[in-house]
């Protein structure tokens, strides 16, 4: 097997993520690339525009660590639990620094990525009408439909400097198989100028070619590939490990104060060198609890004469 674009997370981040960049760590609840986020924090990147539909715990951590200048998002909550407290502290009190926001609905933000990925001028959508959001966000505009004369809401394309996408498996060049909730991974990869892939497993190209419909991201748009098992904990990877809902609930307690948040960060982010060390700190019990029983799909034939 050729080593292709394989590298470490430290090298990938050091090479492609710069201060002031607009970055998109993909994954709609599923496969959120925590390992990449933690490495960006360790390398002390700053003034980043952090884009995600759901900032989730990963951007809450990056905001607390002072990496963020601006947050682009559509739902800034801890689903089923409550607030993202670090986001709120930064927005309401400027701790550790003031942040700007650029806010959309889910369709608005995923539409921006789609428009970026497909080089559209802008994307018209049947949403935002009647909402107060367009009054607060000058990026949401209206145009006249040239066919009916109706007013239509539009959003601009989003082309992040870097996207990080975690996948179940890819080959060493970055041809990536993804299944389960596929969120905005493909859109983010095609929209971004640089793409870092992290993967649970690196497989031979023949495995990828055995099931080409499952390849959402082709190698020629990928810049770096990192083999990073358990990269998404406390988020999850369908078929590999479940979502650590307990931790999502604990995060609410951990982040009550900026100091308590930073104590966590000192131990779990700055206190480890990489993902392997982070995983060594997780109890085996927890790992067992999060490991699902296999549920295999029926095989299909791709045969041709």
């Amino acid at each position: 097997m050729s080593t292709g674009k394989l590298t470490t997370m430290r090298e990938a981040v050091s090479r492609y993520v710069k201060d002031g960049d607009e970055i998109y760590l993909a994954g709609f609840t599923h496969m959120i690339p925590f390992a990449a986020g933690h490495e960006i924090i360790r390398q002390k990147r700053k003034d980043l525009t952090l884009c995600r539909a759901t900032p989730d715990i990963i951007y809450d951590q990056m905001i607390a660590a002072g990496c963020c200048k601006k947050l682009m998002f559509s739902y800034a909550g801890n689903p089923g639990v409550g607030s993202l407290r670090c986001f709120r502290r930064a927005l309401e009190k400027g701790i550790p620094n003031k942040i700007e926001i650029d806010e959309y609905s889910h369709f608005g933000l995923s539409g921006r990525l789609f428009a970026g990925a497909t080089n559209m001028h802008f994307l018209p959508m049947r949403t935002n009408r009647g909402s107060d959001l367009p009054q607060q966000n000058p990026n949401i505009k209206t145009v006249r439909d040239p066919y009916t004369g109706d007013e239509v809401s539009v959003v601009p394309p989003l082309k992040p400097d870097v996207a990080v996408v975690h996948v179940q498996r890819c080959d060493s060049n970055g041809n990536s198989h993804i299944w389960g909730i596929i969120g905005e991974q493909k859109d983010a990869a095609f929209a971004a100028k640089k793409v870092i892939i992290s993967a649970e497993e690196i497989v031979d190209e023949s495995v990828i070619r055995s099931d080409p419909n499952r390849t959402l991201i082709p190698d020629f748009i990928v810049h770096s590939v990192v083999h990073e098992p358990w990269a998404c904990h406390p988020s999850y990877v369908q078929g590999y490990y479940d979502r650590d809902n307990e931790f999502y609930m604990q995060w609410d307690e951990i982040t009550k104060e900026h100091d308590t948040t930073m104590k966590y960060m000192d131990e779990w982010v700055f206190g480890v060198e990489n993902r392997q060390q982070y995983m060594k700190k997780i109890q085996q019990d927890k790992i067992n609890k999060l490991t699902p029983k296999a549920c295999m799909s029926a095989p299909v034939s791709y045969g041709s004469v």
């Binding site: 739902y75 909550g77 089923g80 927005l91 806010e103 369709f107 990525l113 049947r126 959001l133 969120g183």
Partner: protein
């Protein structure tokens, strides 16, 4: 009538609004319970759709988030986020959507963005997520909420998701795909919306509740339908099926 908690009452009443073969955009928590209850009772072919892209889910346990892996295992289909909002929502394929929020007003407008002003928030809430898109594109919007004065306001601080905005006339001009707000179900009553004005009105009082009690808990004198009904109390069957869905009383406490 079976003894039940206010949450159980709301879920049982909401579940009755769902018909067999409906496609339902479900959130987590209480709406998820209502959809699962309907599926166990009158709507075995209900199609549960989640904004994370899971379609026709059959969850083996209660999900904590709309992106829970148990919504994928055994689902009919899973699509991307863009496809979910474009094909299913904007495509007009969803019959019923459940929404919640910190505030709802007399035209069914919902605020899930901010208390106070946007630029200087008193309390910053999570924002729209898919709510504005759901409100704009789904045929019937149902809101399940405790009947509290802080939640019902004459006008929302911030309009995240449009109800009938400031009346049916204005709403028609928006030319949205969806049908707008359909029902608000509380622990006291069910409210629907006037066909002409789009204003919220009480259509059914829950067992033991008087209209005076509704008025005491609503900051404006909410209108009353000419055909005011009494909500039939939850049956033993409804309550026992519901309790089986949430045995630890995570949501029904």
């Amino acid at each position: 009538m079976s003894e039940c908690t206010p949450s159980e009452l709301m879920v049982a009443v909401a579940a009755r609004e769902l018909k067999d073969h409906d496609t339902v955009l479900v959130g987590v928590g209480i709406p998820n319970l209502a959809a699962n209850l309907a599926k166990k009772l009158q709507a075995p072919n209900l199609v549960m759709v989640y904004e994370s892209g899971a379609v026709g889910s059959n969850p083996s346990r209660m999900p904590l988030s709309i992106g829970d892996p148990c919504l994928v295992t055994g689902a009919k289909s899973v699509c991307s986020m863009y496809e979910q909002f474009a094909y299913y929502l904007q495509g007009g394929r969803i019959d019923v959507g459940f929404l919640g929020g910190a505030q709802i007003d007399k035209y069914g407008n919902i605020n899930s963005t901010v208390i106070g002003s946007y630029k200087a928030p008193k309390v910053r809430l999570p924002g729209s997520g898919g709510a504005c898109d759901i409100a704009s594109n789904v045929k019937k919007i149902i809101v399940i909420t405790p009947h509290e004065k802080r939640r019902f306001v004459e006008r929302v601080d911030f309009l995240t998701s449009p109800g009938f905005v400031d009346g049916k006339e204005k709403w028609k001009q928006l030319k949205l795909i969806g049908g707008g707000p359909y029902a608000v179900i509380t622990n006291l009553c069910t409210m629907k919306f006037d066909d002409v004005t789009g204003e919220m009105m009480v259509t059914s009082l829950h067992p033991g509740v008087t209209i005076e009690k509704v008025w005491e808990n609503t900051p404006w004198k909410v209108k009353v339908s000419a055909n005011l009904e009494q909500t039939p109390p939850p049956t033993e069957k409804e309550i026992s099926a519901l309790r089986a869905l949430d045995p630890n009383k995570t949501y029904l406490g």
